[in-house]
């Protein structure tokens, strides 16, 4: 069976991942490259229909109560087998990535981060490891921002991720998608991901609420419970008071 090359596409919700991927996949199709897509989301998605609309085999994973990035890693091996069965050269995994705490990237697989210049321009740092560990950073929705701000934005991204290829693309017109397609083909070729490592550890999920606790209040909380710091004598400030 074929082993497709795996490309992980992440980025803040609703930033335009699907639109930019659809344009890039169309470019790949023109080059005779066959792509399969796996879409990981939490509750519901319609993106599968958009991918199916351009004749790409697509499969959906809904993570439900579980963090979508955990769910993604747990299912990766099976997704690769599926894409191989579909005779795909590339498997694009588009994941929801919600809390910005982690990144789904894997050391041997190409990792793509899509960010929206409108919501990220002030503090690209906020996007977190999904941006800092990416091989390719695609900036979308830059067409309505001044040239000067785009240049500043790019240089900030360059500072926090010096090695990534940075591309500007337009999810509506498809401008920039030829370049994205070229990078998807050219960079890094991982054929076997079993034993490969995550680029960034995923958050631990071991407090009472992870296990289904519904009741509110300290006395119901067990496991790894982290409390905020408050000024002395205010809120739950005992810890800070003891330190002083």
């Amino acid at each position: 069976m074929r082993k497709p090359k795996v490309i992980i596409v992440a980025g803040p919700p609703a930033c335009g991942k699907t639109s930019v991927m659809i344009h890039s996949i169309k470019c790949l199709q023109r080059l005779g490259i066959k792509t399969a897509v796996s879409k990981i989301d939490c509750l519901a998605t319609e993106d599968d229909q958009r991918y199916a609309g351009i004749d790409v085999p697509v499969i959906v994973g809904l993570s439900g109560d579980i963090c979508p990035d955990h769910y993604f890693v747990v299912n990766l091996e099976e997704m690769i087998t599926w894409a191989g069965g579909e005779d795909a050269d590339l498997l694009i995994v588009e994941t929801a990535g919600l809390c910005h705490r982690c990144a789904p990237g894997i050391d041997k697989a190409l990792s793509v981060c899509v960010i929206d210049s409108h919501s990220s321009i002030k503090i690209p740092e906020k996007v977190g490891p999904v941006l800092t560990t990416a091989d390719i950073v695609i900036i979308v929705k830059g067409d309505s921002i001044s040239q000067a701000e785009r240049e500043v934005f790019r240089s900030r991204i360059r500072r926090i991720n010096p090695n990534a290829d940075i591309v500007e693309a337009n999810g509506i017109t498809g401008a920039g998608s030829e370049h994205v397609a070229k990078l998807l083909l050219d960079r890094k070729d991982a054929t076997d991901l079993i034993g490969a490592r995550l680029r960034h550890p995923m958050p631990t999920a071991v407090c009472s609420y992870c296990m289904g606790e519904m009741r509110v209040g300290t006395k119901f909380q067990q496991g790894a419970v982290y409390k905020m710091d408050f000024p002395c004598g205010k809120g739950g400030g005992e810890r800070l008071c003891q330190k002083q």
């Binding site: 921002i145 040239q147 030829e178």
Partner: protein, 264 residues
């Protein structure tokens, strides 16, 4: 940093070779791009911005100084030689004008940007109707002030030799001065427009049809006169606009245009 760009024609929307198969544009030239909505004006701009190498939908090829651009000229945003300004671009950062220009200068590798910032402010203020101040907040600038600042910045700090402008009309700036500023700095300017006055600011104009470059027209002497008349019309419209704003009534007299006078 003198440049020429060459556009080698590709295919129109029906797949036929476009009528203009090669076009060379030199530093300091202004080209306007005209045509109906959907005729491919923005696509042409986008091909130039991406330096298409027969790999976009139109299959055009763009040469810089007669050669295919190398990888970094084409893709490295840090050495990008094309600046783009379009109708719907705005400032989004809540930051003072001067602080922002410093930041922009810094990321362009400019160490002492003070004198350059002075220059940007001066240009912005000759283009804008309302003054732009150093401590104004970017997001609170009016459309005209923003556009003026963007053009002044593109001309000085970004300093890209090729400037693409897509439908920036009615922006409340002195467009003639803006074009003179850009062309005077040896830039190549390509200007997409529906406004006849702006279209005539180009030395030449590219007429788009059905996705292809259909004709290249050179500004005629007759058109230079027409431009003069058009400027008169525009002035009349501005007068009318002002009168109405001031709560005055319009008279037919205000709008009559005496041709002989302006034709000398």
């Amino acid at each position: 940093m003198s440049k020429t760009i060459t556009i080698l024609g590709g295919k129109d929307k029906t797949g036929r070779p476009e009528p203009i198969d090669s076009l060379q544009i030199e530093s300091g030239q202004i080209y306007s791009i005209v045509g109906f909505t959907g005729s491919g004006k923005s696509q042409l701009i986008s091909d130039i911005e991406q330096m298409a190498q027969r790999d976009t939908i139109t299959e055009r090829k763009i040469l810089i100084n007669g050669q295919s651009p190398d990888y970094s000229t084409r893709y490295d945003p840090d050495v990008k030689i094309v600046a783009h300004l379009s109708q719907n671009m705005n400032f989004t950062l809540e930051m003072g004008v001067k602080d922002f220009l410093h930041l922009h200068g810094e990321c362009r590798g400019i160490k002492k940007s003070d004198s350059l910032i002075g220059e940007v402010m001066e240009y912005a203020n000759t283009l804008a109707g309302e003054p732009v101040r150093e401590d104004d907040i970017l997001t609170s600038l009016s459309g005209g002030q923003s556009r003026a600042l963007m053009i002044a910045d593109i001309a000085t700090i970004s300093n890209s030799p090729i400037i693409l402008i897509d439908e920036v009309e009615n922006a409340g700036i002195d467009r003639r001065k803006a074009m003179d500023l850009l062309a005077g700095k040896g830039k190549i300017v390509l200007l997409v427009t529906h406004d006849p006055l702006l279209a005539l600011m180009g030395d030449r104009r590219i007429v788009m049809q059905n996705g292809g470059m259909n004709q290249i027209l050179t500004l005629t002497d007759e058109e230079r006169k027409a431009e003069y008349l058009l400027e008169g019309f525009t002035e009349k419209i501005l007068t009318a606009q002002n009168r109405i704003r001031c709560g005055e009534s319009l008279s037919v007299e205000d709008l009559i245009y005496i041709q002989e006078e302006s034709l000398c």
